[in-house]
């Protein structure tokens, strides 16, 4: 999964911004994240298009503090270490 790292202060974000909210820099580098820690997860039954029915949405945090969401069909608990990957719809994850 791709993250955006501020080229000046090294803050990382899951989503692209025009300006770094921490230092005001406009330069970002793309970095790959392959693992993260689960902050919490929610079992979602009524899911939006284009996703499949019935999965867990996991809020994760990367080693450098970037936070985002990924999907999984596994039972994920707070504090679990995750492997992050991608499918055709977006980030997916599994407990390590």
């Amino acid at each position: 999964m791709e993250l955006y790292r501020c080229s000046k202060c090294s803050s990382e974000y899951v989503f692209r911004r025009a300006v770094c909210p921490k230092c005001g820099s406009k330069g970002f580098d793309s970095v790959e994240v392959k693992s993260a820690v689960a902050l919490d997860s929610v079992h979602l039954i009524a899911t939006p298009e284009p996703f499949p029915d019935d999965y867990r949405v996991v809020m994760f945090q990367s080693g450098n503090g970037a936070r985002g969401f990924c999907r999984t069909t596994s039972d994920v608990k707070r504090g679990d270490r995750l492997r992050i990957g991608m499918d055709e719809n977006g980030p997916v994850c599994e407990p390590e």
Binding site: D40, V42, E49, M59, R67, G68, R71, G90
Partner: protein, 379 residues
């Protein structure tokens, strides 16, 4: 000072009519009476493009109502469109740009599979967050889990928001749901996003509501009962849920309420009644704390004591709230103002609260990306 002098609802729920018919059902009683003096129309609507294949709804609506020579605009601020529209109307009058503004809040959302509606509404999230699969209801579930971890409320107290608001909705002829739902039924109902259940979420609804906003001076000559808008506050926060420091508090809610109370020279404890944005049960509790009605972490106790019931010290969501009245997105914030108007003028029928002369409403966009708060007083 700016006042509201009329409010009229078209019933919220699953409606067979199109958005023009629903909108005019709410607006025509006001237009018929004040046609000659309405000099601006503000239409609150968020998804006419996505749900109805319509753009420029304000121009089409004024033509439909045969007031096409009156200038108009459409305000879109997702779930907070209604509050923004009322703020625009208030500002038009306060700046003397207009004297009598018709506000129409309208949305036609039913008729699509839930999965599609959920996608359309989730389009307000940052694209990269959205690709991870959250829905707006799932964000409320994350909030609930955090709130339970941090403050240890009883699970039943959170569900009691749905019990209270369905009771209020059953007393409101314009509400989507017209029946009480006991706690046992809420707690046994289908899970949508763990731990929240279907009765704890607002339904997908159609609906419309209209207001006439005017100057305090004009209100006397128009002959209707009036309510003053004495405080306003608008505030924004990040659209990125995962960037927030806390999931049990919403900055835009806190800041907009603070501004509104300051401009009205009132405190939260001065309020007699309130309408909050209860898209999910937990939101009413969190907002009631962020607004300042209760200490952080203690809002759930008011559900157990009945403090926020119609006959309690501070009735919240006497209309049924979004939870029971329904959430036709562009109409919701306007409907909150309309409910406070009806309550403060003694026109709320079976759900009328006693001895109310001050009121508060919170219109919230997205999952707190943006909020607009109002303080009202009897003229």
């Amino acid at each position: 000072m700016v006042s509201i002098v009329a409010a009229n609802f078209a019933r919220f729920g699953k409606r067979d009519e199109d958005i023009f018919a629903i909108s005019s059902e709410s607006a025509l009683p006001i237009v018929d009476k004040f046609r000659d003096v309405i000099d601006f129309v503000v239409v609150s609507n968020s998804y006419s493009g996505e749900f109805n294949d319509i753009s420029g709804l304000n121009n089409l609506l004024t033509t439909h109502l045969a007031i096409e020579n009156v200038p108009s605009m459409r305000v879109d601020n997702t779930s907070g469109s209604g509050g923004s529209a009322v703020l625009v109307a208030k500002s038009l009058v306060a700046s003397d740009e207009a004297k009598n503004v018709l506000v129409i809040g309208a949305e036609k959302m039913t008729g699509y599979p839930t999965k599609k509606s959920t996608r359309i509404i989730a389009s307000l999230l940052p694209p990269e967050e959205r690709r991870g699969g959250p829905s707006l209801p799932s964000l409320a579930a994350f909030m609930t889990r955090s709130y339970i971890r941090e403050f240890s409320p009883t699970r039943e107290s959170i569900a009691m928001v749905a019990v209270k608001n369905h009771h209020n909705g059953a007393l409101n002829p314009y509400a989507h749901f017209q029946a009480d739902v006991p706690l046992e039924k809420v707690m046994a109902s289908r899970i949508i996003a763990d731990p929240l259940r279907i009765f704890e979420y607002c339904p997908v609804s159609d609906g419309a509501v209209s207001l006439l906003v005017t100057s305090d001076e004009n209100s006397k000559s128009l002959g209707n009962k009036s309510v003053k808008i004495t405080g306003t506050g608008a505030s924004s926060g990040t659209s990125s849920i995962t960037s927030r420091e806390s999931l049990v508090s919403i900055d835009s809610v806190k800041n907009s309420a603070k501004k509104a109370f300051k401009s009205a020279r009132k405190t939260p404890q001065d309020m007699d009644i309130a309408e909050l944005h209860d898209m999910a049960s937990i939101l009413e509790i969190v907002e009631s704390e962020d607004v300042g009605f209760f200490k952080k972490g203690e809002g759930w106790k008011a559900l157990e004591t009945g403090e926020t019931s119609i006959d309690g010290r501070l009735p919240i969501n006497t209309s049924g709230g979004l939870n029971s009245k329904g959430h036709p997105i562009g109409a919701s914030g306007v409907a909150q103002t309309a409910e406070i108007y009806l309550q403060l003028t003694g026109q709320a029928g079976k759900r009328q609260a006693k001895n109310v002369s001050t009121g508060f409403s919170l219109s919230m966009a997205g999952f707190g990306n943006n909020s607009t708060s109002f303080v009202y007083e009897v003229a």
